[in-house]
């Protein structure tokens, strides 16, 4: 496995782990308070929808000319990566509330309990919430799988890394029978933001006609460079006076 392929697999695995932890919290909340069978049906339907999206868009993306693909993929990955990195920097520096899976679980469970009477058979609320949660969290991962995988013609490797992350998170969730509150989500998001931004910058510039000194080896400087810049921004913010957090924990559950 080359360094770029390892970077691909690691980035997809970490991104998928974060999203899977968040989706698991939602499914656990509606499953335990409403109906496990309906919640699991919602998960299945969402996974099917995500598979259809990847299968439909994958060939279309991989058929693009390589430079167009690199500009498109690089640009989009960079936009995504900078969003992840900005939120992670704000959380690490204390300007934004950190993701708290236990609190999110309580909020979701309370909403599920107050959502009307449960039915003995199919529970539409549990199905819909589980479906939406998995689909929305999974869309970003599907996008990362497609873009990373298509650019290196290794969609299968990217999909395998994503699948492995889901298996690990589900196994941990089944073992813990609780939200995975101890997973260091902000650290993982920080790492994913650094990786997406680095690869996006690398591919975008190549697609636009730039040639990196050292070719693929430039990534060995780009990734640490982005990490150092991000950590430096955290330190700068921590030293500057600032009034309050930009959002509450409840809002963070929606916006993260």
């Amino acid at each position: 496995m080359s360094g770029a392929e390892l970077g691909l697999a690691l980035s997809v695995f970490l991104a998928c782990t974060v999203e899977a932890v968040e989706a698991l919290t939602i499914v656990l909340a509606v499953g335990s308070t409403r109906s496990w069978s309906s919640a699991i049906s919602g998960v299945g339907a969402a996974v099917l929808a995500l598979a259809v999206i990847v299968a439909a868009l994958g060939p279309a993306i991989t058929s693009l000319p390589i430079d167009v693909l690199r500009v498109l993929v690089g640009g989009l990955l960079l936009i995504f990566g900078l969003q992840w990195l900005r939120k992670a920097i704000l959380r690490a520096s204390g300007l934004k509330a950190k993701h708290d899976e236990s609190q999110i679980y309580e909020v979701q469970a309370a909403a599920a309990r107050g959502a009307g009477a449960k039915h003995d058979g199919f529970d539409g609320y549990a199905f819909t919430i589980a479906f939406k949660g998995v689909l929305l969290e999974g869309l970003e991962v599907a996008f990362i799988v497609l873009t990373f995988g298509a650019n290196q013609h290794r969609v299968a490797l990217a999909a395998a890394a994503a699948g492995l992350a889901v298996l690990v998170v589900v196994a941990a969730g089944v073992a813990a029978r609780a939200p995975l509150a101890r997973v260091p989500e902000n650290t993982l998001k920080f790492a994913v933001g650094v990786m997406l931004s680095s690869f996006g910058m690398f591919w975008g510039a190549e697609g636009a006609g730039a040639r990196w000194p050292g070719g693929d080896g430039a990534l060995l400087a780009i990734i640490p460079g982005v990490l150092i810049a991000a950590v430096a921004l955290v330190k700068v913010i921590q030293r500057a006076p600032h009034p309050t957090m930009t959002e509450t924990n409840d809002q963070a559950t929606v916006n993260a």
Partner: protein, 64 residues
Amino acid sequence: MTRASALLAGVWDFVVGDDWRTAIGVALALALTALVAALGISAWWVMPLAVLGLLALSIRRASR
């Protein structure tokens, strides 16, 4: 809101997120890279500088 406009709004929100200035900045930086490369000048340095600037500006806006 019609379904088409809702779909477009959803796609915009998914891709661009809550900071459209950064998205525009990335597009402009890629265009500048292409322009510099087309002039026969080494262009690899454009994106690192642009990314650092865009990230710092985005953080500054969010922390105000």
